[in-house]
């Protein structure tokens, strides 16, 4: 009886109810779009920064992140990598050695970064192989192979199949030099890296730098990326003494702050939208209660208990919210579809795209729809509308029937 009464009451002022419902629907749709967008951005950043760059854990000499010195290495690299990979908590791991060298083509020479990698493990962890735009990635047993950033290759005027000479200061003070065959060119999206970066097999670089069985860092990706504590505890036991193990949050506080900020700002946005929406509901219900003073007084006079009266008003409000929610969900679904499918160009005409921490992100951000987020938006809408209607409902229940009936 109460439900039918509430439903009918809602439609007595069609236009007002619809306008309020639409305002709420738009709030819902906007919230869905915003959260899809920020969730998508967070997911992209997490993927690029954490999954592909930092891994879940970083293993290195404690001084290396700040010193970047050639000598600050993780010793016994083969054994360490082997025992890390054998851990059940670890999904994949890759060791890297870094160096700086003169890299020369037939005519031109320039300074560049050398990264020694274990090709198939590197491909698993950082997907470096996917960034090859010409030729192929390094092979596990291809001694003397090198891949160059596209900018570096064009600077020293070499291409796939050409030979480059690499000269560097080795750890024993000698002048390390060797020839390598360019098997591929990569484009990472990070302009600086593409202009100076190169990769070769870890074993080749260890030989060139005279750093046998050493790496500068090991990137570990765990089976469970959400709870890093057991992973870290296991890895700490597997590495040599004097080696530091850091979670990605410790290794790059900026990244974790950025991700937290994104979540926080979308929460603030949601809070604002719902605050505004709740005032809309409050206003609508207040007006409707005020207008119906007489009618509500009659209801009370014929014996409707105050609690039932409260329920009536709240039900009206919740119905309106449900109506708004379904309209909002439809509009929001369309917006989300567009965001997921086509994305949103964040570059704002900046030809260099968007970058964060030296890593260039795809300027077109694609949305990501989390069912839980959508459900919580709808839940929040119903809750807010119920709460916002409590004040008018309470006022309705406190009406003095005699006075109310006299009101015109």
């Amino acid at each position: 009886m109460l439900v039918r009464l509430a439903w009918r009451n809602l439609w007595r002022h069609k236009r007002r109810s619809l306008i309020t419902a639409f305002a709420m629907a738009i709030a819902v749709a906007l919230c869905m779009a915003v959260t899809a967008f920020t969730d998508g951005m967070s997911a992209t950043m997490f993927d690029v920064m954490v999954e592909q760059q930092l891994g879940h854990l970083q293993v290195h000499h404690p001084a290396y992140p700040t010193s970047r010195r050639m000598y600050d290495t993780v010793p016994e690299a083969d054994a360490t990598l082997g025992s890390i990979r054998a851990l059940p908590e670890v999904a994949r791991a890759a060791g890297q050695l870094n160096g700086f060298a003169l890299i020369g083509g037939p005519e031109e020479t320039t300074g560049g970064q050398l990264v020694g990698v274990e090709p198939s493990h590197e491909a698993e962890v950082t997907r470096a192989d996917e960034r090859i735009v010409d030729g192929r990635f390094l092979s596990d047993d291809g001694t003397g192979e090198i891949v160059l950033g596209v900018g570096l290759a064009s600077e020293i005027e070499v291409g796939v199949g050409d030979t480059v000479v690499v000269v560097t200061q080795a750890s024993d003070g000698s002048l390390g030099n060797a020839l390598y065959e360019v098997v591929g060119l990569f484009r990472s999206g990070n302009t600086a890296l593409d202009k100076t970066g190169s990769m070769m097999r870890l074993a080749d670089l260890q030989e060139l730098l005279v750093l046998p069985d050493q790496v500068h860092k090991i990137t570990v990706v765990g089976v469970d990326g959400d709870d890093l504590v057991p992973l870290k505890n296991a890895v700490v036991k597997a590495v040599p003494d004097g080696t530091e193990v850091q979670t990605w949050e410790e290794a790059s506080p900026q990244t974790s702050q950025m991700l937290a900020m994104t979540k926080f700002s979308s929460a603030i946005m949601l809070g604002l939208v719902f605050t505004v929406a709740s005032f809309g509901i409050l206003n609508t219900m207040m007006m409707s209660v005020f207008e119906r003073t007489r009618e509500l007084g009659v209801l009370k006079a014929i014996g409707l208990r105050p609690a039932r009266l409260v329920q009536l008003v709240v039900a009206e409000s919740v119905f309106m919210a449900a109506l708004a929610g379904s309209i909002g969900l439809s509009i929001g679904a369309l917006l989300d579809f567009w965001l997921v499918r086509y994305g949103f160009d964040m570059s704002g005409g900046n030809p260099n795209g968007m970058s964060f921490q030296g890593v260039t992100l795809d300027p077109v951000m694609h949305g990501k729809v989390e069912p839980l987020t959508v459900a919580s938006i709808l839940g929040a809408l119903l809750l807010v509308s119920a709460v916002a209607s409590l004040l008018p409902a309470w006022r309705a229940s406190r009406l003095d029937p005699v006075e109310a009936i006299r009101t015109e």
Partner: protein
């Protein structure tokens, strides 16, 4: 990266010992002393066998090298030992440097951006090999001490402050010259007065009637335990070197 621009420090420069003989003439002017110090390292041509010992916190290595020079513009240094690096050569023509790497049979020009880098693992930079300045021209000199009739063995000490537009990186340079006019040390300070580098000259021998320091020690100011020592094992002046010695073709030979 610290650059090392003063002339006498240049290794190539030192190889070319020649110039005005020190005579027992009347008291020299400051400029004459500075020029003599610069020219301890200048000459027409020379051929030398030197050993370079590099000691750092991480490694210690000694290389034997043959060095040829002609004028101030042309030099060629070839590593003789250790065997691993034998044949590795550095050619200097004017302001340009090339390295020849026998293992890969390649000649590589040192790019401008890499001139600040270490030369052959030593405390000398590539720039040190090519930069030339003259103390008497690029600095304002003040004589703070000189031999006196009472203290005949007291060395000359000259403080140098760079002239405003001089192409030098130091804030102050202190040159110590022995009473017999053989340089003893040159200390290089930054703008804040911190000691950046000390070049010491020792083991003075007489060659062709002139006193020449046969050992040169470079110590970085921030790492007192490290040094690069260059010692002459053999030294010949005014050798006849054809111009084609200092070409890329000869470098590859």
């Amino acid at each position: 990266m610290k650059r090392f621009r003063a002339t006498t420090l240049g290794l190539f420069a030192l190889l070319t010992l020649a110039g005005p003989a020190f005579a027992a003439d009347p008291e020299p002017t400051i400029d004459e002393l500075l020029d003599a110090t610069d020219d301890v390292a200048r000459g027409e041509s020379s051929q030398a066998t030197i050993s370079m010992q590099v000691k750092t916190d991480r490694f210690e290595r000694t290389m034997k090298m043959r060095a040829l020079s002609k004028g101030t513009d042309n030099s060629l240094i070839t590593i003789l030992e250790p065997a691993k690096d034998a044949g590795t050569s550095t050619l200097k023509v004017g302001d340009n440097l090339w390295n020849y790497l026998p293992k890969v049979d390649r000649t590589m020009k040192i790019p401008a951006g890499m001139m600040g880098g270490s030369w052959m693992g030593s405390h000398f930079s590539n720039d040190d090999l090519v930069k030339q300045s003259r103390m008497s021209e690029d600095y304002t000199a003040t004589l703070t001490q000189k031999p006196t009739p009472e203290a005949k063995e007291q060395p000359w000490i000259i403080e140098l402050v760079p002239k405003p537009d001089a192409p030098v990186v130091w804030g102050k340079v202190v040159v110590t010259i022995a009473a017999d006019r053989v340089p003893v040390s040159i200390e290089y300070f930054d703008e804040k007065g911190g000691l950046q580098r000390t070049m010491g000259f020792s083991d003075v021998k007489e060659i062709d009637g002139r006193k020449v320091p046969m050992l040169m020690t470079l110590t970085p100011g921030d790492k007192p335990g490290e040094y690069t020592k260059i010692a002459y094992e053999e030294l010949q002046f005014d050798v006849d070197l054809p111009d084609k010695t200092f070409t890329l073709q000869a470098l590859k030979r």
